[in-house]
Structures are given as C-alpha cells and as structure tokens.
Symmetry: C2
Subunit: 345 residues, 2 copies
C-alpha cells in the first residue's frame, strides 16, 4: 500500500500504533507519563524537570546516507535514532525525547514506513528514549530527521557536567572507546555486494547499519572526571582535529595503538588502519584527560584504549607510525566537498 492511499492522518495513526502512542488524542485517553500534553496537539509539553537540556538533531537522506533496497528500512530507523543518541552520549548525558520528521514521496510504501518505525522503536527502547511526535510531509526524496533532547549529568556539588571539545589540555592522553573502522568497512562491503559473506562481513555491516551509541561510556567517563569528549562520526583524524582546534592543542595519534576489530583485520588486512583513522560513522567516543583516570576506567572494565596524547603546539593532528606508511590529514567527511571519502555511500 502507498502512503497516498491512506493519507497523512491514516499514516500517523498507523505509526503511532507502532510506537504505542495514544492517537488520535481524546479526552478519555491518558497522557503518557512525563508529558503534560502528548502527541496529537500543536506541540508536545513535557513535565518540568531540573535537568539542563541537551539538544541535538541529525538527518538521514536517501541516496546520501543510505541506499534503499540495500539497507533494510528497519536499520535506517535504528540508525536515525542511534546517531542522535550518540550525540547525547558525547556530552555525557542521558537521552530522553525524540521528535521525528519524515519527508516521504507519496508513492512510498506504508509497509516500509512501518518497518522504519519498528527500527526506531527498537533503538528508542534500547536507550530509554520516548518518541514525542514530529511531522510528516510530502517530498520528492525520503529523509528522516530526528531532533533529540537529553538531560545533562550533574557533578557531586550539583553542577552541570558535560564532555566538550574544548576541554583538552596539553599533557592529557587521547583515548577511544571500542574499535574503529568497522562501519566504514561495512560501507565498502555493502558497495561491493559482499556484505553477507561470513560472520566478519555481517558484523562490519551491522556496525554501519545498526551502530551502538556509547551512553554508558559517556556517563562513566564523566563521573570518573574526564571533561573532554566527542563522538567519532567523521573519522578519528578529522574529529581529533575538532578537539585540537576547540582546545588549542596538538593531538598526536600513534597509529599502531588504534584499536581494530578482528573482523576488520581479516576483511581488510591492507586498509584496516586507513579505515580506522579516516572512515567515520564509528559512533565511538574520542576522549582526552589524565592518563591515570583512563587507567582506572580500563581496570573498571570500560573498553577504552589510549591512542595518543595532547601536546602544546599548533591546533592540528599528527599521526605517527602506521605500518602502511601513509600520511593522514585532518580531512574526513565533508557533506559538500569530500563526497567520495569514508563513511558514506
């Protein structure tokens, strides 16, 4: 069935059912906990809260961020939520609410829209996010935009605490969570059609299509005393450049310390380091702070790896070593220029 057949309000009703949102609103239907006014009015009204509001938005465009027919709609839905959750994780906060804007061609399949929302629901449930409505409009091109709010963490004295890009200091070490490069490897496998050949390939494609957001890692790091962090969406080297410029320090990365998954090493033995340094869409955290704090976090079980250090110097990134002998610049993903690079199709 096409969305033109059931119309805007029929589609909204169907998608609200997927999300367990009472719709259309009626005076005898209870508002969900946490809301003064729920979906179906001119705007959502949340109960007052004493949290500092974290706010972010991210968009997936068909043909730019994913190719229909290759990525299941359910995974597009997951990722649309996950990339926003990752931004909240990168502030050390907790995600709360999502507003979803769908731009749909009028011949879009209702079943695909339902699959998309199932994937969004799975991701929302995984991270404790509630969908608070949004907007559905007609468009020649499918895009899904999520605006997400979260609550910032607080320190021992009740002060608002966040991970920011400008808080690195010379003498800090530089660390990353998880492993890098899997997502970019997944893009290559999808492009070559080799995306289902074996467990390694499937895990790389999963890193691309259903990335995990590091909410717990962000909060744990912040509690331990780290104050500088961001998520790696444009590639390690480019994102390290953002921290270098915002903090006014130089970042030196030791290439051989960058954590690589066995799947990445086996699938791309020659390019694994390049994928990890410049690939993008890892959604792991890039963190800077005292070495002793990271050593304690590692003992406490956090999957964090020290990959370099912040030093006095021009605001730049230097990659030292690397068995492949290549030079890496701070150029990563640019939506309008480096269109052939890294973590996008």
């Amino acid at each position: 069935m096409r969305v033109s057949e059931i119309g805007e309000f029929g589609l909204i009703e169907l998608l609200c059912r997927e999300l367990a949102i009472p719709y259309p609103p009626a005076s005898n239907v209870a508002t969900r906990p946490g809301f003064v006014v729920d979906v179906g009015d001119d705007a959502l009204v949340a109960e007052p809260s004493d949290e500092a509001l974290i706010w972010t938005t991210d968009t997936l465009v068909e043909g730019v961020h994913f190719l229909p027919g290759r990525t299941p709609w359910r995974n597009v839905g997951w990722k649309a939520i996950a990339v926003n959750v990752s931004d909240v994780a990168a502030m050390g906060g907790s995600p709360r609410l999502a507003l979803v804007t769908l731009c749909l061609p009028d011949q879009f399949c209702v079943e695909d829209a339902v699959d998309l929302y199932r994937g969004m629901k799975e991701c929302c449930d995984a991270y404790g996010v509630v969908v608070g409505g949004g907007d559905i409009v007609r468009s020649p091109v499918f895009t899904v935009t999520v605006a997400m709010s979260g609550g910032a963490s607080r320190g021992a004295a009740g002060e608002v605490c966040t991970l920011t890009r400008g808080a690195a200091r010379a003498g800090d070490v530089v660390a990353v969570t998880g492993t890098l490069g899997d997502s970019a490897a997944g893009v290559r496998l999808l492009a070559s059609g080799a995306h289902s050949e074996g467990a390694a390939a499937r895990s790389l494609v999963k890193a691309q299509e259903r990335p995990a957001a590091r909410i717990e890692a962000g909060r744990m790091t912040l509690r331990a005393g780290i104050r500088c962090g961001m998520d790696i969406s444009d590639g390690l080297v480019q994102d390290a450049g953002h921290i270098a410029r915002a903090s006014g320090i130089q970042i030196r990365i030791e290439a051989e310390k960058v954590p690589l998954s066995p799947a990445l090493r086996s699938a791309f033995p020659d390019d694994c380091l390049e994928l990890a340094l410049t690939g993008g869409e890892d959604y792991q955290l890039l963190l800077c702070g005292p070495r002793a704090v990271f050593e304690r976090l590692i003992v406490a079980g956090l999957d964090v790896t020290i990959v370099g250090e912040a030093v006095e110097g021009d605001a730049s990134v230097v990659v030292a070593g690397g068995a492949d002998g290549k030079a890496y610049g701070t150029e990563g993903w640019d939506h309008f220029r480096s269109l052939s690079k890294g973590g996008a199709l």
Copy 2:
C-alpha cells in the same frame, strides 16, 4: 558561489556569522547567555530552567511548500521559523530555541543560503527565539526543518497551563484571531503571477510568505482563562474538526461571522468565504471557551471574533449559512491525499 565550493564547514561558519553565533568554538570565546555549551559541539546544552518544555517541529520542502524563484529565500527563512513559533503560540507558551536542519543540493547558491538565514534571523528576533545550531546535509531536494522548544505558561498557583485541542466543552463559543483566508489567497495570486498587482495583492502574498505567529494572543487568552486552542494551519473547518474529535463535541460555525480582510474581499469577492473556511496556513488561533471571557478579551483589545459554538453532538463540524450556498466538509490539507487543496502550492 555554490555550497560545494566552500564546503560544509565553510558554510556553517558563514551562516553562524549571520546569526551572530560564535563559531568555530574556542576556549577563549564566551558561550552565549542561557547556554552551558553553545553551537559547535556534539550537542547544545541549555542552562537548567523550571519551565515545562514545549517541543515542536515543522518542515518546508521545495516544490511542496514553496516554489523557488517565486518566493524569496528570505521569506522561506521567515516562514520556516514562524510556523514553529505558531505551534508554541497555539499552546499559549513562549518560544525559546530553534535547531535548524538544512538539506541542500551541492549546487545550492551560498548567497541564497545566507538570504534564508537572514529571514530566519528576522523572525527569531521578532519572537525572541535563539538559534541553537542544527545540521546541514547534502540532499537532492532543498528542505528546511526547524525543531523548536518553548516554555509553557504557568497559572496563579504555579501550575503548568496550556491551550489544548481536547479542552472544548458544550456551551463554549468558538472564536478566531485576526482574519482568515488571506494566506490561501496569496497562494492563488502567486500561482497566477498577479502577486504584485496593488496593495491588496501584496498584503495577501505577505500573509502567505511572512505569516505572523500569535504568541501574545495565545498567552493573553490563556491568562484570561481560555484552555482550548490550536493554530489554523490546515484550514478553519478541518482544524475545527481536530478540536471536535479531541474534545468529543460538535462545532457549529456561522459562515457570515468568519472575519475576512478587506484585501481578501476585494481580490476574491466570489471565493473569499471558501478561502477563509478551507484555505489553511492562516496561523491564527482557533479558540473555544466561555462567551464572557471572549467578550472581555475583545474589550481588552484582542482581535478575536466569535464565529460559532461548541454543542453536544457527534464529533463533527457544521458550517451554517454562507452566501455562496456551498457545503463545507472537514477535509482540508492532507499531505498525501488532498494535494490540490488550499494552502499549498
């Protein structure tokens, strides 16, 4: 110049300059008042507030909501903000923050993007909204999505107060602010190319391209004790249907009482009532409550007109009278079905 020539980060820097946002972030640049973390990090962090959070989002798609080459980009920018401010007005709240997502073709003109942001800035300044960043991505089709937060009003006892669709009661009168139909008339004039022929035509086109949001009217109404309201975006009759269903009452509209501007009457003497009843994109408020309260509001100077009443009955809208003798259903604007109707191109 094309956006592909200056790249994503060059464009962000240029647009931040238009909005007077410090960018890129640096440790020696002050964060704007109200923010813990400003634009340029993974997410925005606002200072804690005891307001109940109002949250809404609305999108304009090129070719669906406006035609490029016909509507100046500056007016597209104004409207992208104004339609969201209107949703906050419809809750009786105060708009605060906007996140802007631009989907841009890579051959989009940088100068047009700057004009768009000038229009957004004008509207933000008019309503006290601060732009808190957003996202810019490449897309085959231009769309601008704004997510807006606002603060809900509070009553005398400190309780959260809002205008909702479900709060109409049998015995209430139904009222609208301003005049209706001007915006839909503006669409017709734009489509026929007669949009600059005289002051009346220009005022109708202005209603379409630079609508005002009724923030003061929403707050004033709420303070006076009205609790049922919404903004008229899909046309009076269809929007009255939303209130009828959410409140479980019937709404009877007396056609000859619907307020029409002199400009509308002179430009469309035969169709003015139809445009006012079904046109859409008026962004005036549709309100229900006790007659005595509206009479006091009129005396106090609010441009509000009683146009009908809420009665016991099936959840529907009945339009009585009307010199044109036409019947009006509750069908207004549906993004996927009634594509030829009313307030859209």
